[in-house]
């Protein structure tokens, strides 16, 4: 065979080809007849709702699970992976959504961990490793400094270290699992620049996501997975985000847009001068104001925060995670002590109230971490219906739990909120994330709350459930509900909010008009780069 023939073969064979992949778990088919062809040098996006089967597919491709049927070809050759090790040998690398880096190690140490170059049998050849890392970093424009400590790196840098780690092991095909989930907008752009360099240098990338705008921006080809099977392969230049989403859910989609204002002039929640000190460094004086605390050199988690939410208004709080959102929510819920400031609900000062009393007073709460704060995972749905409403009908009668009442109302929530479950006696843990969230939303909307605190209400929720949750929020808002919305999804924030505030290091640093701001502007305001829109 001549040189030319080989070149032709390489050019025509897809880098990855999956044919008829089927994977059954007992009682359920996770992947069914998956067909996927990834051209060499492409960024190929795989999109689908949570639970559609993307993760299983990637685990099969990475050798973590074996398909029951079907065939995997890499560069035209049939392969049979038993372990991720086999996949790595075949040139496949995986960058996980959650970084797997040791904070107290340098980049170099993290990269070579597990595949240390040896010198004379025993000693680690750091020089060789450093040289190789430098080469890779330069070749792909990653800008990774081998001797930096990982704990000093930002999120975007860490992700590049993860990518470099995979390249270091000789990967030619990269699988990136939800790589943008942890990034702020400008970091996303940087990542995409890196990815483009990688494919230009001949690598192939499988990009898993459900953020459609990003997919459209970066992908050369898109495959949509729905309910375990590939339903379409589309060209990103010929498809809109909306069309793509419809392919994912299999039906027409609503948007988070909510323009007709329902805001009234009746104040529901008024927060003024809310200040919370970081007591991790030691006790702080009680009752000290924000100024006094600042003067004393105390780090403030919440710094003199004031705002009001009116009946029928959605107030969005934008911010990079960890800038005080969680503390703000817990302060309003009465779950954490504050150092100064007041909170009042419908004119009543509730600063000294317990969490229970606040809830009884009409605050609904969709927590950020539904598994930790929102659900009793190992309890049946109907018991979860009672959670947070232990003192109210129809869950209780006096000191007694009203099982019949709670069960009946759980059934109502399941129906009204389209919680997909075989029944109300299954444990909450058995439901998918979206259905768990719908149950929580349904529960927190029960008993006609005056204020709803919604922390990342659609995080980790598939598009179908997301639309349903948005609908419920909009309807409740129209009925006069005041909503404090905290979200990392800028489209959601901009689309749902009547007014928007940006939080940075525990302070409200900007007011933004959701009617005119773009996600990019909001993103830069969040990092403190701009003065808002």
């Amino acid at each position: 065979m001549g040189e030319a023939a080989i070149t032709t073969a390489i050019a025509t064979e897809p880098a990855v080809e999956l044919k008829g992949i089927t994977k059954r778990f007992p009682g359920v088919v996770a992947n069914r007849d998956i067909c996927l062809s990834v051209a060499k040098g492409h960024i190929h996006a795989v999109v689908g709702e949570n639970g559609a089967g993307k993760s299983t597919l990637m685990k099969i491709l990475y050798g973590m699970q074996r398909p029951d049927e079907g065939e995997i070809r890499i560069d035209g050759a049939v392969v049979n992976f038993h372990t991720p090790g086999d996949a790595i040998v075949a040139g496949i690398g995986m960058v996980h959504q959650h970084f797997m880096l040791a904070d107290n190690f340098t980049v170099l140490e993290n990269v070579i961990l597990g595949s240390e170059p040896r010198k004379g049998g025993l000693a680690v050849d750091f020089a060789a490793a450093r040289k190789k890392i430098k080469e890779i970093s330069d070749a792909y424009g990653l800008g990774v400094e081998p001797d930096a400590l990982v704990e000093d790196l930002g999120v975007g840098d860490r992700q590049r270290v993860e990518i470099l780690k995979v390249l270091y092991r000789g990967a030619r095909i990269l699988i990136l699992d939800e790589p943008t989930a942890v990034l702020v907008p400008h970091e996303v752009d940087e990542l995409f620049d890196n990815l483009r360099v990688l494919v230009r240098e001949g690598l192939t990338i499988l990009f898993i996501s459900h953020k459609l705008d990003e997919v459209l921006k970066v992908a050369d080809a898109i495959t949509v997975i729905r309910r375990g099977t590939t339903v379409a392969s589309v060209d990103p230049h010929e498809v809109t985000a909306r069309k793509l989403a419809e392919l994912m859910v299999g039906s027409e989609l609503p948007s988070p847009e909510t323009r007709e204002s329902t805001v009234t002039d009746v104040v529901t929640l008024e927060v003024s001068g809310l200040t919370m000190a970081d007591t991790g460094a030691g006790p702080v004086a009680k009752g000290a104001s924000a100024d006094e605390l600042r003067a004393a050199g105390v780090r403030l988690l919440l710094d003199d925060i004031s705002f009001t939410i009116h009946k029928g208004e959605v107030l969005g709080i934008a911010g990079v995670e960890g800038n005080g959102q969680a503390e703000l929510v817990e302060a309003i819920m009465g779950m954490r002590a504050i150092n100064a400031g007041t909170v009042s609900l419908a004119g009543a000062d509730i600063t000294g109230w317990s969490t229970l009393k606040r809830r009884e007073g009409g605050i609904g709460f969709i927590p950020e971490d539904r598994h930790r704060h929102g659900l009793l995972l190992e309890a049946p749905l109907w018991e979860n219906r009672i959670l947070g409403h232990q003192t109210r009908e129809p869950n209780v009668k006096g000191i007694w739990i009203d099982r019949a009442g709670a069960r009946k109302d759980t059934q109502r929530i399941v129906e009204e909120y389209d919680v997909r479950t075989p029944g109300i006696d299954v444990d909450a843990a058995a439901l998918s994330g979206g259905n768990q969230q719908k149950l929580i939303v349904g529960r927190e909307m029960s008993g006609e709350p005056a204020l709803l605190i919604a922390s990342h209400p659609t995080r980790g929720v598939d598009v179908g459930a997301q639309a349903a949750i948005w609908d419920h929020l909009r309807n409740a808002r129209a009925a006069g509900l005041a909503v404090l919305l905290i979200s990392a999804d800028l489209d959601e924030l901009i689309g749902l909010s009547d007014s928007l505030k940006v939080i940075l290091r525990g302070r409200i640093v900007a007011d933004v008009d959701p009617g005119s701001v773009t996600p990019e502007q909001l993103g830069s305001a969040m990092t403190g780069a701009g003065e808002g829109a």
Binding site: G27, R32, R227, W400, V426
Partner: protein, 375 residues
């Protein structure tokens, strides 16, 4: 998701037939292990077990088993109240001993006549148990001291305190080489019940109390708001806090209930058998309760079965010795049972989780199948 410990301490439900299969398998497994031990020691397992069962089936021994189980069950309930909300009241032992001593002294003083004295003694015991337990609760909510540490310490202090109180110039009365509290007068003895024919021995009247306590425990935990809050706190403290549960108050309440129940542990012995707190008063019952609570997964019926099993095992040590088998075999059996029950529950739990998820996905995937095929 639940942690392994959540499952060990029964804060996670285990429904249906499986809840019965697991412990049954564990007991069978323990029997097998014990058989191997017996064989190694040169005994015939079948013969040994047959005579154990024959021995245990005698009316006289049945009475003994039920009476032992009554005490064990009360202890298990005291422990279980804490377990259900993640509180490890290791101090049940000290609580019941101190409670029994003080109650015995009060009863011996015959302050009130007849059956009223029984009520007084029981109330004093519950009060003392609750107070002693509440020390650990207060330390936990005000100072963040782990209740495991504080209750272990309080056990040691209770030992010292009872030793100090049980001397001739304080609550004790010397009688030969024994020392005990003044005997409780005969009109304040808990009447026994001749429930089992074929023996003059009577079932301790506190069996009725234990049954009432068991029912109250089940109702409190499963049917009341308080019980819901307690279980919610045990399953997920952050979720309970977010739902408005005052966790500190729950800690104190659960500890006080646990301590008050612990106060009852010594009552069957005190009011039904010994009528005094002496050097001979049974010790270590609080730890027996921990084993039985584990065995019964903090479920009232489960603990009752566990208590009866423990009663049988404890009463069988003499029968073993008669066969020239070391009585320590009983301890081996107990250990193996607890261990294998924990393992069996874990296996069953995993099976259940998988089964539940399978069920959910099967029921939800059925319509999808057709839709997917059409797409």
């Amino acid at each position: 998701m639940s942690t392994f410990l959540d499952r060990v301490f029964g804060r996670v439900g285990l429904g249906g037939v499986m809840a019965l299969v697991a412990p049954a398998l564990a007991v069978v497994f323990a029997g097998l292990v014990t058989s191997v031990v017996l064989l190694i020691a040169g005994h015939q397992p079948v013969e040994a077990f047959t005579s154990l069962v024959e021995y245990g089936a005698q009316p006289r021994v049945l009475v003994l088993i039920v009476n032992l189980a009554t005490t064990y069950f009360l202890s298990a309930v005291a422990v279980a109240v804490g377990f259900r909300m993640n509180l490890f009241n290791i101090g049940v032992d000290g609580q019941y001993r101190l409670a029994a001593l003080v109650a015995a002294a009060v009863g011996g003083a015959a302050l009130v006549p007849g059956p009223l004295n029984i009520v007084l003694v029981v109330l004093v015991a519950m009060l003392v148990g609750a107070l002693w337990a509440s020390i650990a609760a207060v330390l936990k909510v005000t100072r963040g001291v782990s209740e495991v540490i504080s209750t272990i310490m309080l056990n040691a202090i209770a030992t010292g305190l009872t030793g100090w109180l049980l001397t001739a110039d304080r609550l004790g009365v010397l009688s030969g080489n024994a020392i005990g509290t003044p005997p409780i007068p005969g009109d304040a003895h808990m009447p026994g019940m001749a429930l089992i024919p074929g023996t003059p021995m009577k079932i301790n009247g506190f069996l009725v109390v234990a049954i009432i306590v068991g029912v109250a425990y089940a109702v409190l935990l499963n049917r009341t708001r308080f019980g819901f809050n307690l279980r919610a706190t045990g399953r997920s403290e952050p979720a309970a806090v977010a739902s408005g549960v005052n966790v500190k108050r729950m800690v104190v309440a659960a500890m006080v209930i646990s301590g008050a129940s612990a106060g009852l542990i010594g009552m069957p012995e005190l009011l039904g058998s010994s009528f005094e707190y002496s050097l001979n008063f049974p010790t270590g019952l609080g730890f027996t309760g921990i084993a039985i609570a584990l065995l019964g997964r903090n479920n009232a019926v489960g603990m009752a079965v566990g208590a009866l099993l423990w009663g049988f095992l404890d009463s069988s040590s003499d029968a073993l010795q008669l066969m020239d088998i070391s009585k320590e075999l009983v301890d081996i059996m107990k250990g193996v049972i607890v261990l294998s029950v924990i393992i069996a529950y874990e296996l069953v739990h995993r099976y259940r989780v998988v089964a539940a998820q399978r069920k959910v996905s099967r029921e939800l995937a059925a319509p999808a199948e057709t839709e997917g095929a059409a797409a």
